[in-house]
């Protein structure tokens, strides 16, 4: 039973995403913050718990990513309904997720991507700060920061992909630092 706990946490996070959106749209800010705190806690816990229980699996990792994407899309979607964030930001996140999936599938070996690894965490932090602070100037700063981070994350991923491709083509090149895959 306990071995299903990490997956249960991820599933609960995915299920809580629409509730978070509803709370935001209806201006229940204290409840939305509490809901977001639970979501963030579950995101922090599920990975380490899966590793501690030796139940980490690709399926669990996919569920974790899907839950994160659900929270990001529901949270920012709700803010877009309120005109806090622009709608096109959702397209940026969708495109970012799509490029992550495509480049992961087409790479012959897992790609070490230290910046892309933190992309989801940055979006979670932006959601949390938006819920807690609520200021127009801050929203502009956060939107710019997210866009800047997106460009850097894409550039980093492309660079890593090219380097991985060159290594595949030339086996003489070192691979010693290919640890901590995303």
């Amino acid at each position: 039973m306990i071995r299903h706990l990490p997956s249960a946490l991820s599933s609960a996070r995915l299920a809580a995403a629409p509730a978070l959106a509803l709370l935001i749209v209806r201006n229940h800010w204290t409840a939305a913050l509490a809901c977001f705190a639970c979501i963030a806690a579950s995101d922090l816990l599920d990975g380490p718990l899966a590793r501690a229980l030796h139940v980490a699996s690709p399926r669990g990792a996919r569920l974790d990513i899907a839950a994160d994407l659900g929270v990001v899309l529901c949270g920012f979607g709700a803010f877009a309904i309120l005109s806090v964030y622009p709608w096109w930001l959702l397209l940026v996140f969708g495109a970012m997720f799509a490029q992550f999936v495509i480049t992961s599938r087409h790479a012959r070996r897992p790609i070490y991507d230290p910046i892309g690894k933190y992309y989801g965490a940055v979006l979670f932090a932006v959601l949390g700060v938006t819920l807690a602070v609520r200021d127009g100037g801050l929203i502009i700063a956060l939107t710019s920061a997210v866009l800047a981070f997106t460009v850097i994350a894409i550039a980093s991923r492309m660079f890593r992909l090219l380097r991985a491709g060159r290594r595949d083509a030339d086996p003489a090149l070192p691979r010693h630092h290919l640890s901590g895959y995303s």
Partner: protein, 199 residues
Amino acid sequence: MRVKLRRLLQILGVVLAVLVIAGAATMYATNRTHDTPLLVVNQSGRATALVVYQPGLSAFQQEMTDAFLDGLVDVGWRVEVTTVGDRAPQYVAPYGLVVFGGPVYWSSPARPLRRYIAQVKGLHDMPTAIVLTGLGSVKGAKAEAEHLVRAAGGAIVASLALTIMRPNDEEAMRAGERNRVTAARLAREAGRQITPPAR
């Protein structure tokens, strides 16, 4: 150890780049003025009101300014409307009412609006209204705008601070009215409260 240090430097570099880009973009977006021509609404109105506003990055400020303007037109004002910029009138004494509008950034009215209020001439004893919009707490910004208008000699007849992320009217919200709809209703009602002088 060297790999860890390199990784740390990479992260610091990314954080620094993001902070610099976000800071520059925010400075640009919050200080940018929008130069638009003076539009006239309700040509046959009894007296002329001037509405000068700073559009925000979302449509909220525009919607609330329009709602307030509709209220003024409802009670018979002829309204000249423009945005804070080079084409906004610098001398407002010929008008019967001046309305300043703008978004709240960092708990303060937008900087271009503050600059415009401080430099505009002919505001002495002029009936003046303020329409601010923000996300959360707007009380401080409202007080600051009122202080600026008084310092410029204006007589405040209406002062509104409407928000997206705080209830504008608790009762209306409990009754199921959307916060944005409430804000537009309040803006229009406030415009209707200011009647133009008889000819």
